[in-house]
């Protein structure tokens, strides 16, 4: 899956547009803007407007009341835990998929994309089947914090793996061979030669995973539930707010969630650019 932060605003080559003359392009641009407005921009504007409907104090209260504040903290913490696990597990899985050889590897490679294709509700149900009540393994993790982490791990699995895989494939083996000939151990080679090259991909994959994790909803509904002060994440809180008619509060919480996601994506974007320069 191509990265969401692909750059199409590259420096214009010294040749202007080769497509329909100005008239046609302007018309197309107008259509695109209209489409985006109806679908995205206007709803987002309405969201922001509604969040401030009760003034600053209502906005603040929607986020800082005990239940909301707890949910906010837990959402961020759980997502961070998931990102850290993903960095490690995702890199290992990518490594095995690229460097190792065993029967069925191609099939395994295809399976990685499953969380992209599978409905989130189904993801929740599959975890419930194995780790919930009636579990053949005797594990009852449903409706616990562990369930939240597991569900988030499920849906964010492909992000780091798919980001790291192509970079690993492109890596120049000769660099590693040179390092080995100079006496570096495998681990040192990994730490000093391979990891820096992978860092940009790991960072960008992590950013996407984090943004996905803090907003996740469907997989948590059945498997973790939204128990206040236990498993409730922001998306669940917002959902309940809508259901109980408190649209202003829900909007305020939504705005905060959105801002966090955007800020994190921005920070990770910068980090990725920085690490690209030092990727070697």
């Amino acid at each position: 899956m191509s990265s969401a932060v692909a750059d199409t605003s590259s420096a214009a080559p010294p040749r202007p547009a080769s497509w329909p003359r100005l008239g046609g392009a302007a018309f197309g641009r107008g259509l695109v803007v209209a489409y985006l407005s109806i679908i995205v921009l206007i709803p987002i504007a309405a969201l922001v407007a509604q969040s401030t409907d009760g003034g600053w104090s209502s906005f603040w209260n929607a986020i800082s009341n005990p239940e909301a504040w707890w949910a906010l903290k837990w959402t961020v913490i759980a997502s961070l835990i998931v990102v850290v696990i993903n960095v490690f597990a995702g890199t290992v899985i990518a490594w095995v998929l690229v460097r190792d050889r065993f029967p069925g590897k191609a099939g395994l490679n295809g399976v990685i994309d499953l969380p992209f294709a599978l409905p989130t509700v189904v993801a929740g149900i599959t975890l419930l089947a194995l780790y919930g009540p009636g579990s053949p393994l005797g594990i009852h993790a449903a409706f616990t914090k562990v369930a939240v982490v597991m569900a988030l791990l499920f849906v964010t699995l492909p992000f780091v793996v798919r980001a790291v895989q192509p970079v690993l494939m492109e890596l120049d083996l000769e660099m590693e061979e040179a390092a080995a000939s100079l006496g570096a151990s495998r681990f040192t080679t990994f730490r000093r030669i391979i990891l820096p090259s992978l860092m940009p991909a790991i960072l960008s994959g992590s950013a996407l995973a984090f943004a996905r994790a803090i907003g996740e909803f469907g997989s948590l509904v059945l498997f973790a539930g939204f128990i206040p002060f236990k498993t409730e994440v922001m998306s669940g809180l917002i959902y309940q707010g809508i259901g109980s008619g408190n649209l202003t509060g829900a909007a305020a919480q939504s705005v905060i969630l959105l801002v966090i996601a955007l800020v994190v994506l921005l920070i990770f974007g910068r980090l990725t650019k920085w690490s690209l320069r030092h990727a070697g």
């Binding site: 199409t8 497509w19 392009a25 190792d100 990685i112 294709a117 469907g218």
Partner: protein, 267 residues
């Protein structure tokens, strides 16, 4: 390849396989087991009018939303890659927005505009066009969440093939439509296919946004995913598991199509 300790290779392999097995594959196997464990009641449940309507609605919504988004996606990609204008970065950012927003938030935002008390909803409702808690709302929500997919797949392909073929077509007398239809579109077809396939998967699986905007009225505005969640909540576990299996099978066939198109794109 630098000599690797057999232990470390097996260790990594074991970890990867174990992780994937415990997180992904065994749970998936379980729902098949659970579904077929009580296949009788499961089948009965999934063939009730409400259930059938839910699956039908899911497919209908996809059938409307995906083509719309595909046309938008291809057009927008052409605009971004083949023309120059200020504000490209902004359009890029807006297109990427669905990746950063929780589905529930998307549902809320749409509700605030298109419900009876929303910005436009009142006017639309009065003119006979109900959006929230009806099909159009679900379609809008689905378009929102699938917005980036086709664009993001087509843009790199357009970059890669370059515009020389299109220039050649122009010098040979083709107008812009002929150029697009005969030269550009065939060149990007696998990128488009891949984007359409991922978008479809996303559309079929959408839950949060639809849960908010649709009102989840059984037999009317429930989609398949919502039906499954409700069935489970109503202790109709067999039905829910079978429904999950159906969607899972759909997802797997989509995965297969994805891999096929990815390979074709590479040639």
């Amino acid at each position: 390849m630098p000599a690797s300790g057999r232990a470390s290779r097996w260790g990594l392999r074991g970890f990867a396989l174990g992780y994937l097995a415990l997180l992904l594959m065994i749970p998936l196997g379980m729902i098949f087991y659970r579904a077929f464990e009580h296949i009788g009641p499961a089948f009965e449940s999934i063939t009730t009018p409400d259930a059938l309507h839910a699956f039908y609605l899911t497919i209908l919504v996809a059938a409307i939303a995906i083509p719309l988004n595909t046309i938008f996606g291809v057009g927008c990609a052409l605009l971004l890659v083949r023309t120059n204008f200020r504000g490209k970065a902004l359009i890029n950012a807006i297109i990427d927005l669905p990746f950063a927003i929780s589905p529930v938030v998307i549902g809320l935002a749409l509700l605030l505009v298109y419900s009876r008390t929303g910005w436009f909803g009142g006017w639309l409702d009065d003119n006979g066009f109900q959006v929230a808690f009806a099909l159009p709302g679900i379609v809008l929500a689905t378009i929102f969440v699938t917005l980036p997919f086709v664009v993001r797949e087509v843009v790199p392909v357009l970059h890669e093939i370059g515009d020389e073929q299109e220039q050649a077509a122009r010098t040979l007398g083709a107008n812009w439509w002929q150029t697009f239809w005969r030269v550009t579109l065939p060149a990007i077809r696998w990128g488009v296919s891949y984007g359409v396939v991922i978008a479809t998967a996303r559309a079929l699986g959408e839950f949060g946004a639809v849960a908010v905007i649709s009102g989840r009225i059984a037999g009317q505005t429930q989609t398949a995913t919502i039906w499954i969640a409700q069935a489970f909540g109503n202790f109709d576990q067999p039905g829910a598991y079978l429904g999950a299996v159906v969607l899972a099978l759909l997802a797997v066939s989509i995965l297969v199509a994805m891999n096929l198109f990815k390979r074709k794109e590479a040639t």
